[in-house]
Symmetry: C2
Subunit: 320 residues, 2 copies
Amino acid sequence: MGQVVALTGQVGGAKLVDGLYRLRGKDLAAVVNTGDDYEHLTLSFSPDIDTVLYVLAGIASAAAPWEPAGESHALFATLKAFGGPDRLALGDRALAAPLLRSAWLAEGRRLTEITLDFCRQLGIGARVLPMSDDQVRTHVLTEDGAVTFQEYFTTLACEPAVRGFQYAGADAAMLTPEVSNVLDAEDLEAVVICPANPYHTIRPILEVPGMRELLRKRGAPVIAVTPIVGGKALKGSAGKMMRELRHEASARRVALEYLRLIDGFVIDAEDAASAEDVRASGIEVLVANTVMRTLEDRSALARAVLAFAQTIRDRRLQEA
Amino acid sequence: MGQVVALTGQVGGAKLVDGLYRLRGKDLAAVVNTGDDYEHLTLSFSPDIDTVLYVLAGIASAAAPWEPAGESHALFATLKAFGGPDRLALGDRALAAPLLRSAWLAEGRRLTEITLDFCRQLGIGARVLPMSDDQVRTHVLTEDGAVTFQEYFTTLACEPAVRGFQYAGADAAMLTPEVSNVLDAEDLEAVVICPANPYHTIRPILEVPGMRELLRKRGAPVIAVTPIVGGKALKGSAGKMMRELRHEASARRVALEYLRLIDGFVIDAEDAASAEDVRASGIEVLVANTVMRTLEDRSALARAVLAFAQTIRDRRLQEA
């Protein structure tokens, strides 16, 4: 068995990474979106990275995997008493990684080094890699103007209609040696695009110059898993965004977002009827249970995705 | 009744400020040592300011007034799991003020403005004022070399013998308009030097250029309260430091540290025998119970100190 690389972010993405990690351990690398990162109270928040870390370390809250289990809000209560901002509830445990990250960034360390250090400390065998060490900030272009994703998500509660996205800083962002190495591995077996918002979670990763080429460099199958089931996002606002962008809110439409990048697409059994439409675009399709309610669901989906990649590799060998 | 200004820091200092506050409310200003301030994990810690704020706001722990009551350590436990430094235990609640302070300082606000804002938010009627907005850092010159007070206090656990002190930055530190205003008040009634370490708590305040002159400008009695009772500091290492500096560890010796600055000195009943020695230096002496175990002890000592100042004023009027 070779190396597996996952592109990921959000809760669904972290869950599939966890499934892949349970199967592959140290042979897994997760390339994580940092376009939703933000600064608050001088601290550097990387929500997608931290969610993956909590989940892989087994310390994530089951109900809210973006924070550690047993979260408390003592600091935040005191912060409010001192006149601090109250719009973003800060958990005590969830502040630890941003605090340490900020301190280490201030010492001149790279975000990648810091994140790999977190993995070692937490006993995570897989490599969790930021998509870049350079700052990329996803801006949501709404009917009321452009805002950062954080403002859209927290202050605006995802309400204004979305007209488009911009990835500020992406033009100048560099691939890291670590991301280049994992995607250039001779034994790269599959690239998995996890179920996550295609616009503000997966797309920023693809916007790092050279990333698309690197994903296809070794010729390993690139497989995406739908974040849309039955016309709705399981979590988050992907469905709403798709409708506002005047797209059909469907798994089929997500596949089109990845056209010319992916070899295979995994849709939910509920959307089995659209398999043929996707195949007509030249993309192979696997119908599977994509809704991960239990830990076993995560492993089962990961197993199905990797078997699907194997099928694609086998067919290519036969055709060659 | 006029204005009262206290010079303060440490737990004993905060307790007497609390007693004065209970008597005088908004007619009290506390000028607080910032020489023990430090940066940790990019945050700006001001331990003496925060202790005064917690005590005056009524949110201090009774057993450990340098932190809010009911302190927890969830963030710190997570920080350690992520590989963060473990030598300084950080409480969840006690991190709020440093976090907010750092963020507001980064916005270009002055430490004084921030501290007064904290007072308003916490419902503290008195003015808590940093001794300066400029950075002063007390260094302890030990037999093993010079270290910051924080290193001496935490890393070295106050162990190396002390040979002297330096107040880095004091030469260039400026008086703030707020400190100048409270000490230049026409109705200034008394200046109280609270019971606290004379070397690293009170002295840094006095090292701000212009401070000594300002303390005497209006001619209000300047009264110091001993931090040494029966040859020992109630809290902290004042007694140990005095012996290492080859001074007698005594209330009498503390009075000499304030020679030509103070009009009156308050010693504990336990040290009543040394009253005559202090009087021989031209300093008036009050013998009182200086050990503040209860809230009533704080008010009683504050009442005694202010009555002592009144006596000195009355005598001056008679002599004039």
